[in-house]
Symmetry: C2
Subunit: 300 residues, 2 copies
């Protein structure tokens, strides 16, 4: 089964909600943070990384009825250093075991064999002699297109070989995204040129669902562009950040769906994983309620 | 001392050579790879990560007389998974202890608090309550500008607070870099717009050496653009990849230097760290010879 077909199945079963796993230690429920006071040793950071993974896994259990896709944000694991990557691996492994389609949000981008190293870490694993060691084993990875064709192609090749997908940054959800993405080049903004390249890369990867394995990141905070890009890229999966905490509404993101209801996964991170005050003993119920509400809104 | 002044001191003492640390297991000397055959357990990957760090540290000892700057490439550590990040940390720690200025080549880029998480991992460390845990503790980090202003600014703020630097991708060295970087926007190519933003971000960070803490990545494989960008960005440090194995010559990179000899660090990775066949028992002498030759060429 291709990546795009697995994603289609997840969206058909549970709707387009993607839960972003952005674990910020200071936002974790008190119960997780109530450990001995920190001392400046690595072991304490290991404990923190383990508790972080435990929290992320509990959140995934809570949201599983309402979302078929999760998106761990690598930056928050990296901030816990070498131990954080234990947690990143544990969270991805558990997500896969629970049946989620996973998007590793690492926004990687580099050239030639360096890009291949990132892509192998994300997908096929590390090959040493005849043995392959799984590393992140994610279903898909976000990538940055700035370095150009031969920086993107190693990711595409690695994804194809391992039956995985990528999401290329096209139009990001942040307020300052226009600085370069909106520059007019030969009559259209830069992000439309990136979109055209995505369409080209995606064309040879179309699965049975009618969509391909090379997706685009398009922010919910730009509803007009979402309409425009949906028309331009009918066979491309959109990963839509910016819904919820960043201000995009369910009505804004509707333009990302195709008439068959497929075509977009809509990410919410803080809005679902941290809808509580850290001291709130009732945090689990609030996560469930937030996920349920988002699922209903996005499906409605 | 600012980042730019520390970099200037390194270049004055040893010349502009930056040694790129890109450890590919299959290229390591036989002596390092002669360990028991791999079995698919994590422990074997730990051994490989440890041997990789040992190799990188030995290379840094060998090149120390000829280069003041090293640039570990994060992708090759990430390919070894969670254990690889032990090695990345060990290599960065040792590089700093040996007096190198370090550039963590991770090409990070994300928005708002996510960008801050990457930047804190790179520079100040992970703050938990009143305790700060060092993570990579690099002197500088490469970053990708595609996401725009509010994606770059958290890196600038974190660098400023910790007295570190960044290198923003402007014109990369790969053959396919032009796909987006060369698009003409309002009369000039995209990379010139990025260059103008770098000039603006750098302006408030000028150190005693006359250069600032916000550098630009400009490939040696584009000598004409190097001339143009040197003129446009007189106070900006250039990190110049593409010298050596990628085809840029010492003559090509000369345009990156200012009249005072400062202004550029010129990276060579494979050309210096792997100028030998893996079976060659004399590999250390070849690394020394390659570094010595590169230092002489780049200073000449």
């Amino acid at each position: 089964m291709t990546f795009s077909d697995r994603l289609a199945e997840a969206v058909r079963r549970k709707g387009p909600l993607c839960v972003g796993i952005d674990p910020r230690w200071e936002s974790l429920p008190k119960a997780f943070r109530d450990a001995p006071p920190p001392t400046p040793t690595d072991d304490r950071l290991l404990t923190i990384a383990q508790l972080t993974a435990t929290f992320c896994i509990r959140v995934m259990e809570l949201v599983a009825p309402f979302a078929g896709v999760v998106k761990p944000q690598s930056a928050f694991f990296e901030l816990l250093g070498k131990w954080g990557f234990y947690s990143q691996q544990a969270v991805l492994q558990r997500a896969t075991a629970m049946g989620f389609v996973t998007i590793l949000d690492a926004k990687r981008g580099d050239i030639a064999s360096t890009a291949t190293a990132y892509a192998d870490a994300a997908f096929a694993g590390c090959k040493i002699g005849d043995v392959t060691f799984p590393i992140w084993d994610a279903d898909s990875l976000t990538i940055n297109p700035y370095l150009g064709r031969d920086a993107v192609e190693p990711f595409l090749a690695a994804a194809k070989a391992a039956n995985r997908g990528v999401f290329v940054l096209v139009r990001t959800s942040n307020p300052g995204s226009g600085l370069f993405q909106d520059l007019k080049c030969d009559g259209k903004p830069l992000y439309r040129h990136v979109a055209a390249a995505v369409a080209e890369w995606n064309a040879s990867t179309i699965g049975e669902c009618g969509l391909g394995d090379v997706g685009a990141v398009v922010g919910a905070t730009h509803p007009r562009e979402l309409v425009e890009l949906r028309a331009e890229l009918p066979n491309v999966w959109f990963l839509v950040p910016g819904y919820g905490a960043q201000g995009g509404t369910a009505a804004d993101v509707r333009a990302a769906y195709r008439p068959d209801g497929l075509g977009a996964v809509v990410n919410s991170s803080r809005g679902i994983t941290f809808p509580f005050h850290p001291d709130d003993p009732d945090w689990e119920a609030k996560v469930v309620a937030a996920a349920q509400k988002a699922q209903a809104e996005l499906r409605g």
